[in-house]
């Protein structure tokens, strides 16, 4: 079920009413309803893969229980590795099996040895990369004794399959989300209203910004061989905005929906395109994944402690793994590597934690130096996204070589003025709201309800009139 579908528009109010009117008396019932609704939500796409979520839930629940009663360190390690192997095993099989087989065959044939191995026709279960990481965080935190394993199976199941964030995150930590399932939720008017605003803003980002940019980005990337360098630059910029609108829009809807049910999910985006360097960009982009890798991979590897080579190695590992997490294609690996290269100079000069404060704090506009840094960071990001969007490395290569040709200075074949204007308005609104969680929080501090509602109605009408062709969220494929 897509968040921007009619199905979800019917599903959400029904679950909301049942949740607050029928099950609000008991915590157990509240959690049970979340489990049933979440399984229904996921099964709407493909009910067969519910068994996978259930199996993953059972494995991690019992491993958690096992870790509680086990004091022997070797046995505890064994339990943890069972969880890691089961979860990553599923992920590896469904997401990477064909990639590895194809690459093995290519590698052997390169050295003159023909081997026969057939790829399988495997459907990638939606959200597997997200809920796998979420359940892993539980086992690891229990192993590290950072979290008391739960006895409440229903609460744990609800934590794993919580429908707002099941298929595309934010990837929640057990330490943050699971305890919220232990307390009966009480309806909070302010929270629910803000949730609605965040949903509205998320839909605006997705339906108006991302889907409109997608039209041009797809057209340009799919016909890149026949277009000028200037058009390809525009295509890369459109994709850059599309992926942000799409994914942060999804996160906004997920967080907003959770708030309607009394849950607080972690923030996933913090205006990343206003970043002044790449390190800041990665602190603001897909925060739940970046911090997951930081806590469960980078730090255990030694983090930024140790010598220079160790720092470089760890940086590359984390970016390459992050790239590979996005998909079984070398384009994602190169995208990750490129980001590691961007990051490296900051790390080696110890300036990766320079821009920790808010951008242009207490000022309306950034200083020229800040603006230049923001533009440079944005440019580097746009360049890296080319690899992310391209079908293959050769496609990315030819795309980039066309950009750096004389046609870069010709007029672009497509120049959708209306869309560019809309993007400008969008970023202006985001800039104004950069201190808040989303652009509609506080609605620019307008007191009169009629004006606030006027803004909501205009946004709502934009969404309704642009609705029709549902575009899937990009991050569903990961």
């Amino acid at each position: 079920m897509l968040f921007n579908s009619v199905d979800f528009a019917i599903f959400l109010p029904i679950v909301f009413i049942l949740y607050w009117y029928l099950t609000n008396k008991s915590l157990k019932f509240q959690n049970l309803l979340i489990v049933v609704a979440s399984y229904f939500f996921y099964g709407w796409w493909d009910w067969r893969f519910l068994s996978l979520i259930l199996f993953s839930t059972l494995v991690d629940y019992f491993i958690g229980r096992g870790l509680l009663s086990q004091e022997n360190q070797t046995k505890r390690k064994l339990l943890l590795w069972t969880s890691i192997l089961v979860n990553l095993g599923f992920l590896g099989f469904f997401k990477y099996y064909n990639f590895f087989i194809d690459n093995f065959v290519s590698a052997f044939s390169f050295f003159g040895t023909e081997i026969r191995a057939s790829s399988l026709s495997i459907i990638l279960p939606v959200g597997i990369s997200f809920y796998t990481f979420q359940t892993l965080s539980y086992s690891i935190d229990v192993y590290r004794r950072k979290l008391e394993p739960t006895k409440d199976f229903i609460a744990f199941t609800a934590f794993v399959c919580f429908f707002p964030q099941l298929v595309a995150g934010p990837i929640e930590r057990a330490t943050h989300l699971l305890p919220q399932f232990y307390k009966k939720r009480k309806f909070d008017y302010g929270m629910a209203v803000d949730g609605m605003r965040q949903i509205l803003w998320g839909l605006f980002k997705k339906v108006i910004i991302a889907d409109s940019c997608a039209e041009y980005a797809n057209m340009i990337f799919n016909n890149s061989a026949d277009l000028s360098g200037s058009t390809l630059v525009l295509g890369a910029v459109f994709f850059t905005i599309q992926i942000y609108g799409d994914f942060s829009g999804y996160s906004d809807i997920a967080i907003g929906t959770s708030r309607l049910f009394g849950f607080d999910l972690m923030r996933n985006f913090n205006y990343p395109y206003f970043s002044r360097d790449i390190a800041e960009f990665w602190r603001r982009w897909h925060i739940s994944l970046s911090t997951w890798f930081r806590d469960y991979l980078y730090i255990p590897l030694g983090g930024s402690r140790g010598g220079t080579w160790m720092k470089i190695r760890n940086t590359f590992i984390i970016f390459l793994v992050s790239g590979f997490w996005h998909g079984a294609n070398w384009t994602f690996v190169v995208w990750g590597a490129l980001n590691a290269f961007y990051f490296l100079p900051l790390l080696l000069t110890d300036s990766n934690r320079v821009n920790l404060d808010g951008i242009a704090k207490d000022r309306k506009l950034p200083r020229f130096k800040e603006f230049s840094k923001m533009t440079l960071t944005f440019g580097l990001t746009v360049f890296a996204w080319i690899f992310f969007r391209a079908e293959s490395l050769s496609h990315a290569g030819s795309y980039i070589s066309t950009i750096f040709s004389s046609s870069l200075f010709s007029a672009p074949e497509y120049l959708p003025i209306g869309l560019l204007l809309m993007i400008l308005i969008f970023f202006t609104l985001e800039w104004i709201s950069r201190e808040r969680q989303h652009a509609l929080a506080d609605v620019f501090q307008i007191d009169k309800r009629i004006y606030r509602w006027g803004i909501y109605v205009v946004i709502g009408l934009f969404i309704l009139f642009s609705h029709g062709k549902q575009q899937e969220f990009i991050y569903f494929q990961f």
Binding site: Y189, V457, L461, L464, G468, K469
Partner: protein
């Protein structure tokens, strides 16, 4: 909680009002100003789906316009035809394609499957009644709601830009020839045929829609003929020919039926087993024009006349090839 639900409901009602009012205004503007204009002096119309669309090259047939459209079931054709007849009182004759697949449940899919809804509803929504809309909504609720949004913005756009000229369809020039490979395919086995017939479902809706079209044409004093465009001998839906004929006789015995399905053509003149390519269309359309000039519509037994013309054509053909 109550306050939240109350305010959310009020907001949604306001939003719905702001959405619905411009939609209704634009639909009414389009209804009033829509132009479905035919070529000058058009007396005959061809209506139907892709079969007649590819068969009747109207540039070769005097006083005739082909307004067929691929994937257009009677449900949508009825709106178009109604508007065409309103704007073009000079039309005397309406030829409506009635092929074997016109009575199958495939026509229902063509009415309300997502892809067809998107293509057709956005065009014809201003001309639909509430009953027509509820037919679509009851068969594909989520698809219908989606297309409501899509058609709303398209209608508003159209009304603002004053684009009142509607596309009518027309002859489709097909430059392909897949028949050689299609005829190589093995014939269905007895078991497969049995299975095919068992699974076959017919569309009562399609038959009702055709009846409505005929009644509306007759009300306006137009002469209606059901026709069947040329088909290849291996056309798949011949497999239920007897049922097709039975349904036709039961429902449309009072409407003259002109069957061109046995019009002889080479494999290379078919695009596939049910569509003519441009070569076949040229031969058939020239012949059909001759038929009209010879007074086909004044003949008492038109099908007999058509078959006699088949024979004389074949005779001429074999004489010249000798």
């Amino acid at each position: 909680m109550k306050r939240f639900i109350k305010l959310t409901t009020v907001f949604l009602v306001i939003l719905a009002l702001f959405f619905i009012v411009p939609v209704l205004i634009s639909e009414s503007v389009l209804r009033k100003n829509a132009v479905f204009e035919l070529k000058e002096n058009t007396k005959h119309l061809i209506v139907g789906h892709s079969h007649p669309e590819c068969a009747f090259n109207d540039s070769l047939i005097e006083d005739l316009q082909n307004v067929s459209n691929s994937g257009e079931p009677y449900f949508y054709a009825s709106f178009k035809l109604k508007e065409i007849l309103k704007d073009n009182p000079g039309v005397e004759t309406v030829f409506i394609e009635f092929a074997n697949n016109n009575i199958t449940s495939k026509m229902d899919d063509w009415a309300y499957d997502d892809m067809f809804l998107e293509a057709q509803y956005t065009i014809y929504s201003p001309f639909m009644s509430q009953k027509d809309r509820s037919f679509l909504a009851s068969n594909n609720t989520s698809g219908f709601i989606n297309v409501l949004f899509l058609s709303s913005s398209s209608n508003i756009n159209r009304a603002i830009k004053r684009q009142f000229n509607y596309s009518l369809g027309g002859f489709r020039y097909l430059d392909r020839d897949k028949t050689d490979s299609l005829v190589q395919l093995p014939l269905p086995t007895v078991e497969e045929l049995k299975q095919f017939r068992q699974n076959l479902k017919f569309s009562t809706r399609s038959i009702q829609d055709l009846k409505k079209i005929i009644a509306s044409c007759q009300q306006k004093g137009k002469k209606v003929y059901l026709i069947r465009s040329p088909l290849h001998d291996r056309y798949e839906d011949y497999d239920f020919e007897s049922t097709y004929q039975k349904i036709r006789k039961e429902n449309f015995s009072d409407i003259e039926y002109l069957d061109f399905s046995k019009f002889r053509l080479q494999d290379s003149e078919f695009a596939d087993l049910e569509h003519l390519n441009y070569k076949g269309a040229k031969i058939f359309s020239t012949w059909f024009n001759g038929l009209l000039q010879k007074g086909l519509l004044d003949k008492k037994d038109k099908q007999k006349f058509i078959e006699a013309e088949y024979q004389s054509r074949l005779k001429v053909h074999s004489d010249t090839s000798r």
